[in-house]
Subunit: 453 residues, 2 copies
């Protein structure tokens, strides 16, 4: 389809009123426009980015080509302006369509704007990080700073800090109410979600298309969750509005994300930068927090959580952590191989041990056990009646997949990781809607709309 046709279709979806699904239809229109803008702008700005020093070498390609970096800022800014242009369709035109019912009352405008402020702060801080290489221990908290607008407006405008208690727990503790007011802790919880999502996306990275691909998968899972609520709910129910609202955030996001993926997929023509990882993660955080389904959101981040836990021993210094833990590219066959952490000899001098520390002997049985479970690749030697561990694969799920598959081409590895993410997430989605009602007693439908309507 020609770019013009794309734009015309997008605009007609935005402007031609429909009866009930006006917001969703407009969101699809904005997604098409966003896709077109993103794909049109990215190839035009690449050189300017490289000229400004925003370029990086793709180590997993023959000749390590230099390609533009931090390109994620383009779709991110595009998204922001689309969401601003979306406002009249959500709060004026949209509300008159749905058989007179106010789908999104104007009281929801402040929370909406605070979401945008939060996302824009994240873009700005992410850009600072990409420009000035902020230290790891500082950049970890950038998302928390970016989430301040969200938390502050939540506090001023809304301020409900109670959560539901599972029926089981309620009976056990003999509580009279089915909710508990967390107060200040609730804000800590929201801040944690905002720190978690962006950093999770940022940590599971290093393969062409993976940073962007995982945001596509999580967005699809969230959209499926939303559609589930739309199918079971009536227009009047609060969960209906909330999930319609969530879709209005996620559909245009899908548009710009697919536009970016086109250039970031193997063989990548651009890198997306920390800006993108932070921004994409923050979109989910914002949607989850403002829709009160942050716990459901966590389910879709399971591979990221597993990746974080699996990385633990290296992140917290139990075993050595090399600067890069990316898979190793072999120019000869064009495949990706596992990368390893090498251990120093046990009888090394103290100077050698400082450079290349040996493995703690207590960990040997654990490592051998993990190897047996196929959860770790190990290179070992049988020496004087016992196993000496020479090196183990780096602790990322990317390397873990390589342990399972053996050497594999980059795009196949990425596809596998994304399929796994989708599979696990879909399973969680099913469990969420079958198991949770049993535990909680009913599907949660309390919402900020309860207050606003």
């Amino acid at each position: 389809m020609s770019p013009l046709a794309f734009i015309v279709l997008g605009l007609s979806l935005v402007f031609v009123p429909s009866d009930r699904f006006q917001p969703v239809q407009a969101a699809v229109g904005f997604a098409l426009i966003g896709y077109q803008i993103t794909t049109a702008v990215i190839p035009r700005v690449g050189n300017a980015f490289i000229k400004r020093g925003l370029g990086g070498r793709d180590l997993s390609k023959p000749g390590k080509p230099l390609i533009p970096e931090t390109i994620g800022v383009i779709p991110a800014i595009t998204y922001l302006f689309l969401m601003i242009l979306f406002i009249p369709f959500l709060f004026i035109f949209g509300s008159t369509q749905t058989s007179g019912a106010q789908m999104f009352p104007k009281t929801m405008l402040s929370p909406y704007l605070s979401c945008l402020l939060c996302l824009q702060s994240m873009i700005l801080l992410g850009l600072m990080d990409d420009l000035f290489d902020i230290r790891w221990r500082h950049k970890f908290f950038l998302p928390a700073i970016a989430s301040i607008p969200l938390l502050i407006v939540y506090y001023v405008d809304f301020g409900i800090t109670s959560i539901l208690i599972p029926n089981v727990l309620r009976n056990w503790l003999r509580l009279t109410s089915n909710s508990v007011d967390l107060g200040f802790v609730y804000y800590l919880y929201m801040a944690s979600v905002s720190i978690f999502c962006p950093n999770s996306v940022n940590i599971l990275a290093g393969v062409n298309g993976l940073e962007v691909g995982q945001t596509v998968v999580i967005a699809v899972l969230l959209l499926l969750n939303d559609v589930w609520y739309l199918l079971i709910g009536t227009v009047a129910s609060p969960s209906y509005s909330i999930h319609l609202f969530s879709m209005c955030f996620l559909i245009p996001f899908m548009g710009i994300t697919l536009g970016l993926l086109k250039y970031n997929w193997y063989p990548a023509k651009v890198f997306v930068g920390d800006t993108w990882c932070y921004f994409g993660g923050m979109v989910f955080a914002v949607v989850g927090i403002s829709g009160h389904f942050a716990k459901t959101l966590m389910l879709f981040f399971l591979p990221q959580i597993v990746n974080f836990i699996y990385s633990g021993p290296q992140l917290f210094g139990l075993i050595p952590c090399p600067r890069h833990r990316l898979p190793k590219f072999n120019e000869k066959d064009g495949l990706l191989y596992n990368s390893y952490t090498e251990y120093g000899a046990v009888d090394a001098t103290s100077e050698q041990a400082r450079q290349n520390p040996p493995l703690n002997r207590k960990l040997v049985p654990i490592i051998l056990f993990l190897e047996k479970l196929k959860l770790l690749g190990v290179v070992k030697e049988y020496h004087e009646g016992q196993w000496v561990i020479k090196k183990t694969t780096n602790l990322t799920i990317i390397n873990l997949f390589l342990v399972w598959t053996g050497p594999i081409r980059e795009d196949k590895l990425c596809t596998l990781l994304l399929v796994a993410q989708f599979g696990v997430g879909f399973l969680m989605l099913i469990l969420r809607h079958t198991l949770a009602p049993m535990v909680f007693g009913f599907d949660n439908s309390w919402s900020m709309l309860n207050r606003y309507n």
Copy 2:
């Protein structure tokens, strides 16, 4: 005063409640904190900026030293986060103090957030401009794009598009109402203000301290205007709240601006970048538009307007315009001299004329007349019975001041320009409050608060 004392004083102003002027007191507190953050961060990040290629040579200093550029992004981001942290003090704590009256009702939260979104968009786009050198004819419209959040939220949330008509005009046209609904034109008007203010600040630049200094002067003039309303008004009047609101934006802005001026004043240790000019100008646009005193605001921009008109013949190609029109620095005496546009010989070949076009003969009498009025520096020769213009000073008010003062040191030139800006602005302020009531019949006090209260 030590930095710590500054912060403690700031925090105590923010947190210790007072009776009536709680918002102003908190704003002063945030200004102190903002000043301290700005002055603390700027010297620490200069090297990182230069390393990233964000540095420029100061041509008006011996040896043309390289100093960091785009530093304005630091106070701009600081300001934004301070204004976000200000929200609870404006909309929760503030309102309970003022003898029970809601100084800022929560319905004003959306407009407030839209102002912040607009400013943040401006920072982001300004940064893009500083990073990627957007073309002049494109960058001129960046502020218009940044103002979209403001206009959209105005449309959705408020939507009043009528303006007052002067009594004189009303009688003359025999109108029955004292206001007229501009409809769509009103949005064009708001967009024009948003384009005008940032670009005005950006155009009057090139002398150490001038970009930042003019924002200080305009902010002081606006604050004087606000204080005038607070002195004549009662707490209940809408103009009272509106100008209190404006002060809450401008006082913290003064804090961060003075922090930046400390490093940008002669001899400058940092350049501020387009980001700052756009951001500073947009703060005024936002305050003027959301407070409905954009016309008063224009009065304080008179020197910028004069500068634009005076530049006209060069901007629109009537006479040649060199790439830089900055004053010329003389290393020997350390003073700034006029810079000139040189004209080609009248009898030049067409090739020479293309390189260095001669002056249109019809303009000679005008130029000689302007010279007589001391509005232009001219170098001429009497040749065969008539004056031949060799060169004229470049058409900026910076050069005009040099025509009046002769060679002068950079800081003195900057001080003169700022004093002139303040003097003209103060005169306009007096006229505004003496002449305008005569023409309009009453001082305008209609406001968005009329609607919200």
